[in-house]
Every structure is written in structure tokens, then in C-alpha cells.
Symmetry: C2
Subunit: 101 residues, 2 copies
Amino acid sequence: MILELVDILIQPGKQAEFDQAIQHGIQTYIAPSKGFIGYRINKCIETPERYVLMNYWETLENHTVDFRGSPAFTQWRGVVGPFFARPPIVEHFTIFATKNA
Amino acid sequence: MILELVDILIQPGKQAEFDQAIQHGIQTYIAPSKGFIGYRINKCIETPERYVLMNYWETLENHTVDFRGSPAFTQWRGVVGPFFARPPIVEHFTIFATKNA
């Protein structure tokens, strides 16, 4: 299992609209993708325009090749992209250790 | 439940030592703290010096007041701090939506 960590900064005052858009976008365009396991959307307390999206995939290539190479990727960006204050910062992680989380 | 997200960059080539230190530090100094729920340590694929630590707390104050105001915070930093390439970036989050993660 691979974690895709997406660090998002949106335009000020757009939180309520973005809350809807990101959920709609994930459910419609990401969740049906090959190898997608699940997600978590986190809203920052100190920086209200910051969201951290955690997407879990079976393999790295399920995200970088299968999803990013599909029309769904463009559609997803069409839904959430208009809210971004800068391009999202995306890197992938292996889960090294976990307890009750 | 509150997520404390810790973005860590360590010195190159120190991964094996840090893998041990961070687990020891969490289990010894953070896990016994009031309101601590659990953790996940993630190791970055693209940037091998990057670690993202997710700590889950009952309340924000359990981290910012109870833990940071305790001797355990200084002890924790004593274990992991020597590996840091720069101060860790820490912010807190509410969990807005989650599915299979």
C-alpha cells in the first residue's frame, strides 16, 4: 500500500465550496480508479486555506500511471483546480510503522 | 480527534539510524502522553530524507499544552532532533472526511 500525500492551498474564503468540490471529485473521479483503496481529507487549523489529502493506492503505478494517464485525472483537476492558490505538492510514501491510526 | 502532521527532513544517509530513533522516541516519550491516540510514520519515496509523522490526539491542547509543556517533549527532541536537516514543520488538522483509510 502506498500513500499519496497531497498538500493543497486554496484561495481565501472558498472553504465551503471546496469542501463540496473535493468530496465530489474524489468520489466521482478517483475512487473508481484501479488500485484505489481509500482517502482522508484533513483541514488545517492554523492555515484555514490548507488541506492535506491522503490517498491510498495498491501500488505507486496505480496512481502515477493508471490514474494520471486516464481522462479521470483531467476531470478531477477540472473540479478542484479552480480553487488552488498554487499547484498542489504531491509525493508518495511507504507506511513504515503505525499504531491505532 | 486532532491530527498533528509533522514534516521532517533528515540529514542524508541517516535513514537506518533515524528509523530506529523515531520509533523509540514515539514509544518512549509521546505514546504515554495524555490524550495520545496513535501514530503513523511514513517514508517518502521521491525524497528519501523526508518523513511525515502523523500523530493523533484527543484534543489540540493535549499536544500543544500537555505534551509540549512536559519534560517528555524535550526528551523526544533530544532523540530525534540531532537527525534533522531543518526544524520540522508542524500543523494541526481536523479530519473532514475519510473512507477506508
